[in-house]
Amino acid sequence: MDNFVVEVKGVSKVYGKMIKTVALHELDLGFTTGSFNAIIGESGSGKSTLLNIIGTLDRPTKGEVIINGVSTRNLSKGRLADLRNETLGFVFQFHYLLPEFTALENVLMPYRIVNGKVDRKSQARAKEILNLVGLEKVENNLATNMSGGQQQRTAIARALMNQPKIILADEPTGNLDSQTTDSIYQLFRKINQERGTTFIIITHDRRVAEKADRIVEILDGRISLDIVK
């Protein structure tokens, strides 16, 4: 058996009670540790639904998701929250930074959710991550006082804070220009290579997808293509 860090087994997702819309059809998919994966597909194909189910933000109608060897099927909301906090890092199309906090404080947020207070070590790590994403100069800016690229890089730094095994990114560069997009993907690659973090990235940009180790295409809730380079 492969060394899967994320495993999706027979996952279906049906929306609606009266009129049922099937978003995912019994998907089986596994992602190996340290891999760099792209999920592509047209809008409405079900790729975001899949990512949200992998991220335990949404529950599948059928099937189960195993993350880091733990089945999430019967976990309570609290346990799922802990799992997300410790194992997963999220990057969305919108940065979702807390505008009331500075870049550094935003990066520290996942750590504070578990530990409450910030110690010197975590503070140093947050600064190191900000350094990694090239934001050391604006670390004390409020989230609202940064450019779109800086905000997205802060969101990435935040996703890295708790040293997650997996980073889930949903159109992370959807709102950014092509130059910034390139630098963000180079950053992802760097983190993937240096830290062995598994990446699962949704993108509709084929150019971006081609840089991944593996491309999974979703069409109408089914896997239509699965290429491993």
Partner: protein, 387 residues
Amino acid sequence: MKLAFDIALRFLKSSKGQTALIVLGIAIGVSVQIFIGSLITGLQKSLIDKTVGSASQITVSAKTDGDFILAPQAEIKTIKAANPDEIINLVAVTQGPAILKTADQSTTIILRGFDWDDAQGIYKIVDRMVNGELGTNENEVIIGTDLSENLNIRIGDSIEMIIPNGKAQQFLVTGFFDLQVKSLNKSWILTNENTVQAFLETGEGVSQIEMQVNDVFAADEVATAVEKRLNDDTLVVTNWKAENAALLSGLSGQTASSLMIQVFVLISVVLGIASVLAISVVQKSRQIGILKAMGMHNPKASLVFLFQGFLLGILGAFVGVGLGIGLSWSFATFVTNPDGSSLVPFYIDWIFIGISAGIAITASTMAALIPAIRVSQLDPMEVIKNG
């Protein structure tokens, strides 16, 4: 806890206008509560003080009119023992009606005599003297200002009094008092114990024993205790509450209406906070959603809003106490009687203020419960789906 508190604080700081508005709302509520509460309490205190503050609150007298209490010192001891903590200012009073005759006029008066020192507690005669001095020697008396004007009596004058059995005697006027009640100033003549006992021929006996109590509203209970302790059929015990039923019902009506006002003020404050915080949940749903996605548990997310309610409550209560005291003070200072004294004296009851502030803080926190529950129901998926 710390994180929820920090986030709550940051949320409040980030929308300063909104925060100021809620704080002001709470503050006005608290200040109205304190103002009305203090006003009513001050009003009642001054009313009671004026009514019974310088009068006997519990009186023990002989059942049969004209009889005397023969061993007053022993009775005083017994009375005091009935409730040593409450009973104060005990004084034995000997009194009787008499006709006052001057060269050209005569009028009916009541001659009252007591030990000047004992009487100071209830009647504060020393402070009420307007002219001359207390009649401490035999056959010396003091009279009310109105009586002195009516009959044109001056200090050093000699007056004649006749009692019902026909006995007549001359007395020396040594001073005038003003008890601030016209009827008493017109009808009372006060003297020392020996003079009255000799003139009325009571021997050691006194007409009645008067006293006050620390808690004026407990006068009826204390009176009952005194009655039990005395256990004497020849004596009657009366108290001011039994004799001022109309005043008391007026006071309790006032208390009830002030309480009603305070309750409605509180309800409006709570509704105000709850609605503003509910809006704030909608405003902050993105932040809450992402915090939950990053692993924040529901109770902690709810705590953010409870802390907001709590902080707003503390801030509002703080400002409100200041405003309320300021309002009460201005009312006492600027709303005055024609003579310049304040219509309602400035009165601060810190316990009441503390309770008002406490209620405001509790109510604000409780008001945050509804938004807090909404937060715990917020699904991070909705935020992420809808951007």
